[in-house]
């Protein structure tokens, strides 16, 4: 289990879930891919608190699923209980993704750059990789189709937040500025939530910008943990708002009582 954050009465996984959940509202129509416990918890939490009409398609398949607890894979039927529709992957899902009937998705990445572009393909050169990663899967697709995309990382480090991706598997704000617009792509990255802080994107340059520091985290730590220069907001950097008791209760008791979300944190490996 993650350490309790001083002054917040919650652990970092809980803070991340709650922070993400507060981004969503009744117009959110989300789905999830593999190993996505943090966003899955956030969708469920939002639905059980302030956004009862939020749409979540478990594994991109099981719409309005309401599992009693999460299973060990977010891409399997272990989270489909209570669904109102089992939708077809190629026809329903891809038509709705392209038509922006789904509008919200969340990505992790082995590498993330300042514009929120992501790499999950190779570390090192493509032809002679140091590590052959799983591959981008739908990253290249969904980054071009879904308008509201969130990033998260449970291990904010210079190895992940890099100056230059080894491979761009999925587009965020591309080369920054109006690059997405020029390509005719909708929306763009909204927010990046890590174990240290919350970052948004500068409205013009589209470069990552610190939005708030998690309780107890200092700016220097974020700087040292990030391979590129993080923009700062005007004025003092706020502290990330902490969860309410009610949010924590629902997350712990109703959304993820078996704490599957901890699987995304290194110390939780078993």
């Amino acid at each position: 289990m993650n350490m309790v954050i001083a002054g917040a009465d919650c652990t970092i996984d809980e803070l991340m879930v709650v922070t993400l959940a507060r981004q969503f509202d009744n117009s959110t129509r989300a789905f999830n891919g593999a190993v996505s416990f943090i966003p899955v918890c956030a969708y469920l939490l939002a639905r059980k608190t302030h956004a009862p009409e939020l749409v979540w398609a478990a594994s991109s398949i099981a719409i309005d699923a309401d599992p009693a607890c999460l299973g060990e894979s977010t891409l399997s039927d272990s989270i489909w209980d209570g669904a109102v529709m089992l939708s077809n992957s190629p026809f329903d899902f891809w038509a709705w993704a392209q038509g922006m009937r789904y509008n919200t998705f969340a990505f992790r990445g082995a590498q993330i750059d300042r514009y929120g572009n992501v790499n999950n393909t190779v570390i090192g050169s493509y032809d002679e990789p140091k590590v052959r990663l799983p591959g981008g899967g739908g990253m290249a697709d969904l980054g071009c189709m879904i308008p509201d995309i969130y990033l998260w990382s449970t291990t904010h480090s210079p190895k992940i937040f890099v100056e230059q991706l080894d491979f761009r598997s999925g587009i965020g704000w591309g080369d920054g500025g109006d690059h997405r617009e020029k390509l005719g792509l909708p929306g763009g990255r909204k927010l990046c939530v890590t174990n240290l802080c919350v970052m948004d994107f500068h409205p013009e340059s589209r470069a990552m910008r610190l939005k708030s520091l998690h309780p107890g985290i200092i700016l220097e730590t974020v700087r040292e943990s990030t391979g590129f220069e993080v923009l700062l907001p005007e004025g003092e950097v706020p502290v990330t708002e902490t969860p309410t008791e009610e949010e924590l209760r629902i997350l712990r008791e109703e959304v993820d009582p078996t704490s599957m979300r901890l699987r995304e944190f290194p110390q939780a490996e078993n």
Partner: protein
């Protein structure tokens, strides 16, 4: 025409050097019994088309059946990378022709519908389309000036999918409905071989014709293999076997351990039933079986 074959006969239809598309997605509904039989028959130089896959690709690569893998993602999800696939690509033993998920779907649809290409916005602004500029061609619409990617046909020799039920004529039902992308590979393929949990009477298709997934003219051969997707899942009958994935990944860390695991628990057993037995038999089956609701 009776299309039922023993799995050994069905696997014998796959010739060395074929382009073989594997059904299922990630840890769901892969035709694992069929893949195991391909390994036992020592197929060589296969090209695998596997949109999002893991264990099936890793087995075939480990057995040296594969020359090329065409895929969007190969992993064991949260349980880590697919070890043999990873090493084979890193060392260059296997060529990876990599696309994103939807670029592959678009290429398969171009093949299925006899079109020179299918357009998409998927991949724009990424390094993925630059990997294969001839098959995922960057183009501009002459009227709107919009950029798009033209995905050329990806023809498939044989599609292998696992389903729930078939009759002897080759009518097939995925129960309760097709969720994954098997239709994409089946439509693009010259031949389709289906393994099923059970062969049912023809009359059961007539009784519920709206539940039929593929009609007999799509299917070239059917083989009955209960638990034929094991160790991947076959919703709603059974889930994937996490214990198998873990043991496999652990064994793969050491060549000797892997050889032992391979011989005793994977390629060695001479039937699918014996393979299940070698991996826990009834206890395993009871563990992965989903509660009926």
């Amino acid at each position: 025409m009776d299309k039922v074959l023993k799995i050994e006969q069905a696997a014998a239809l796959v010739t060395d050097g074929s382009i073989l598309a594997l059904g299922g997605l990630s840890m769901n509904s892969s035709p694992m019994a069929f893949v195991r039989e391909l390994i036992r028959q020592g197929k060589k130089n296969l090209t695998l088309v596997a949109i999002v896959n893991g264990m099936a690709v890793d087995w075939l690569v480990a057995a040296d059946c594969v020359r090329r893998v065409i895929s969007g993602l190969v992993s064991f999800e949260g349980m880590g990378l697919a070890p043999n696939f990873r090493h084979a690509v890193e060392s260059g033993v296997v060529t990876l022709e990599e696309y994103s998920e939807y670029l592959l779907i678009a290429r398969l649809r171009a093949a299925a519908t006899n079109l020179p290409f299918i357009p998409t916005k998927a991949g724009l602004g990424t390094d993925v389309i630059g990997l294969h500029p001839e098959t995922t061609r960057l183009e501009t619409d002459p009227v709107t000036g919009e950029a798009y990617v033209a995905c050329t046909p990806l023809p498939v020799d044989v599609a292998i999918v696992h389903a729930h039920a078939a009759d002897v004529l080759g009518n097939v039902r995925v129960d309760p409905k097709l969720l994954w992308m098997d239709n994409e590979i089946v439509n693009a393929a010259a031949k389709t071989i289906v393994t099923v949990e059970t062969i049912v009477p023809h009359s059961s298709f007539i009784a519920e014709p709206h539940r039929t997934t593929w009609p007999r003219f799509i299917t070239d051969a059917v083989a009955e293999v209960p638990w034929g997707a094991y160790p991947t899942s076959c919703f709603p009958k059974y889930g994937h076997d996490k214990a198998f994935f873990s043991a496999y990944s652990k064994a793969a860390r050491n060549p000797e351990c892997f050889r032992t695991f391979w011989d005793s628990r994977l390629a060695g057993p001479d039937t699918h039933a014996a393979f299940l037995q070698a991996n826990g038999g009834a206890a395993t089956v009871n563990r992965i079986r989903r509660p009926t609701t």
